[in-house]
């Protein structure tokens, strides 16, 4: 939240400096891009917590009950596999690249790169939570009534 307001302020400043003072800031663009990556990955993690990432459920709802239930139970496990692998590789990438310096801000590239393992670490955690909820749970959610769609 604070980050998104900061982004808006810097973006406005970026525009103002460029037009009003005709003096481009060298660091603002890079700052904005990196903060957006952080902002998006944190948001994506929160969205994952709410099971909000779009999937196409229409086909699986055509399946017989048992197949459908199996799909629903397997999905969180695969999500954790995907998220955990990204987290792991993200950390590896940090270790390999932290010595590189970004051109404008002059900071280690590890600072922007870290957003990826950070976001996906939390997605892994939330995915484990989904496993506990669904895969180990007694019941599988009913076929979705499309009129009850969330309004994201």
């Amino acid at each position: 939240m604070v980050l998104s307001m900061a982004m808006l302020c810097v973006a406005i400043m970026h525009v103002v400096m460029r037009y009003v003072f005709s003096n481009a800031l060298t660091w603002s663009e890079e700052f904005l891009r990196f903060s957006m990556v952080w902002f998006s990955l944190v948001s994506a993690a929160v969205l994952h917590h709410r099971k909000g990432h779009v999937g196409i459920i229409i086909f699986r709802d055509m399946f017989p009950d048992r197949v459908r239930a199996a799909c629903i139970r397997i999905i969180p496990i695969l999500e954790v596999v995907a998220a955990a692998s990204v987290t792991y590789n993200g950390i590896l990438l940090l270790l390999r690249t932290y010595k590189q310096i970004t051109p404008a801000l002059g900071i280690s590239v590890a600072i922007p790169y870290a957003a990826v393992p950070f976001g996906f670490f939390f997605m892994t955690l939330f995915g484990i939570e989904h496993i506990l909820d669904i895969t180990l749970g007694e019941t599988v959610p009913a076929r979705e009534d499309p009129t009850a769609q969330k309004s994201e």
């Binding site: 973006a11 990556v37 948001s43 990432h53 994201e152």
Partner: protein, 424 residues
């Protein structure tokens, strides 16, 4: 071998209902494993996919829309359109489409539009004696103008995932098609309204029109800032999105004074979640794009297609996307299919702006086609009808929209004339 594993893995996970972003990550991971490539690529490509200055426009346009969806601004806009269209038969339904077009030039998403306008206009239409299914259908088809009329989050996502297409250019390319679709839908609604005897309002006199214009003026300035800023060569798309967000904030909190500071967390949260969805998709699509480039898929597909005349290829694209739109989400489709279809069209000599407009407009129409039609899902419960009932009433509007799309496909000046005037 590696490519086959990518395709199979993607298809199986898709059918299972696996979230698209995770699907692209996981199937690309499998691709890299089978192909013997290091996994680090996933992270590196994903980061680069999210690290574009253009993508920054996404959260800002969403934020602008969120600010604009509060009460009085919408009413002012509706009253303004009513002052001009109110005397025609089926007035309120026509006003709905007109307002959708105006809102479309402010918001970048169909859902933002349908959720806010629908909660006002559907009850109003029902009260005036429109059938609930028709009210729902009008709203569902009108809201398609949201992502067609610029700004459009879908088109930004398209340009970022496909490349070689200017965002401002595609925005310009979509203006005339958006207006044509609005007019076509209005004509269709007018015909139905005359046949069914739906009511009109009193003709507003010029002083009344002037009054409504003045009231809506601050809101009407927003499209002027967004579109004028981009097309008048004052701002880049990203800069104009930031300025628009600032202006909308001032409007909501300082001019109309209907926003409360306590609304801010909700607004920011909604913005964050939608941006997170879109930008993560952009990032994970970049991973898959590496695999597609590495396998030189486009060259492989291009071979068999090269014998096809361009018109047949475009017809195939349109019909294929229409079927795809019945089942697939528009964002997912654009990141998955855009990078394959667009380069083939370019090699056939189709202008990047035109093929971009065709793909995006087609996918937007898919938002209102069942079984998976997100705007139908939102408007139907608002009107208290089933999705089938809404869709049945929406068919005429969707058919004319598709006909406009065919005109756009086979008559390039509709998309290219305006951008060319601005040098794109």
């Amino acid at each position: 071998m590696a490519l086959a594993s990518l395709g199979i893995c993607f298809a199986v996970l898709l059918v299972m209902g696996f979230p698209i972003a995770f699907n692209m990550i996981l199937s690309s991971t499998v691709y890299l494993l089978v192909g013997g490539y290091p996994q680090l690529l996933v992270v590196q490509r994903m980061f680069e996919g999210m690290n574009g200055f253009s993508l920054l426009a996404v959260p800002f346009f969403i934020l602008t829309g969120q600010f604009m969806l509060r009460g009085h601004l919408l009413e002012a806009l509706i009253d303004f359109v009513n002052a001009f269209l109110g005397h025609v038969r089926g007035a309120l339904a026509l006003v709905t489409i007109g307002t959708c077009l105006f809102m479309g030039s402010i918001v970048g998403l169909a859902l933002a539009e349908v959720a806010s306008l629908g909660s006002f206009l559907i009850p109003m239409m029902k009260k005036e004696g429109y059938s609930p299914a028709f009210s729902s259908a009008v709203m569902a088809s009108g809201s398609l103008l949201g992502p067609i009329m610029p700004p459009s989050v879908l088109m930004i996502l398209y340009c970022v995932s496909v490349g070689r297409t200017s965002i401002a250019g595609i925005f310009l390319a979509a203006v005339i098609p958006a207006i044509l679709i609005a007019v076509a839908q209005m004509l269709m609604i007018y015909r139905i309204a005359v046949k069914r005897g739906y009511p009109n309002h009193e003709r507003a006199e010029w002083p009344e029109k002037w009054k409504q214009f003045k009231r809506a003026f601050p809101a009407l300035m927003l499209p002027v800032i967004i579109l004028g800023g981009i097309f008048g060569s004052i701002f880049t798309v990203t800069e104009s999105s930031a300025i628009a967000a600032l202006y909308a904030f001032i409007l909501t909190f300082l001019v109309y004074k209907e926003g409360k500071l306590s609304d801010l967390p909700v607004i920011l949260k909604e913005t964050a979640l939608t941006s997170g969805l879109v930008i993560l998709l952009a990032g994970s699509a970049t991973v898959t794009a590496w695999a597609i480039a590495n396998e030189q898929v486009v060259y492989k597909v291009m071979g068999p297609l090269s014998g096809l005349p361009t018109w047949a290829f475009l017809l195939m694209v349109n019909i294929g996307l229409l079927i795809n739109g019945m089942f697939m989400d528009d964002y997912a489709s654009v990141v998955v299919l855009g990078p394959i279809i667009a380069p083939i069209a370019w090699s056939m000599g189709v202008d990047p702006l035109q093929i971009g407009a065709i793909i995006c407009i087609n996918l937007v129409i898919g938002l209102a086609t069942p079984p998976f039609g997100i705007t139908l899902f939102v408007t139907s419960p608002m009107a208290g009808v089933t999705i089938e009932q809404t869709f049945k009433e929406a068919i005429p509007m969707l058919v004319v929209s598709f006909i406009v799309l065919l005109f756009v496909t086979y008559f390039p000046p509709l998309t290219l004339w305006l951008p060319r005037q601005f040098g794109y």
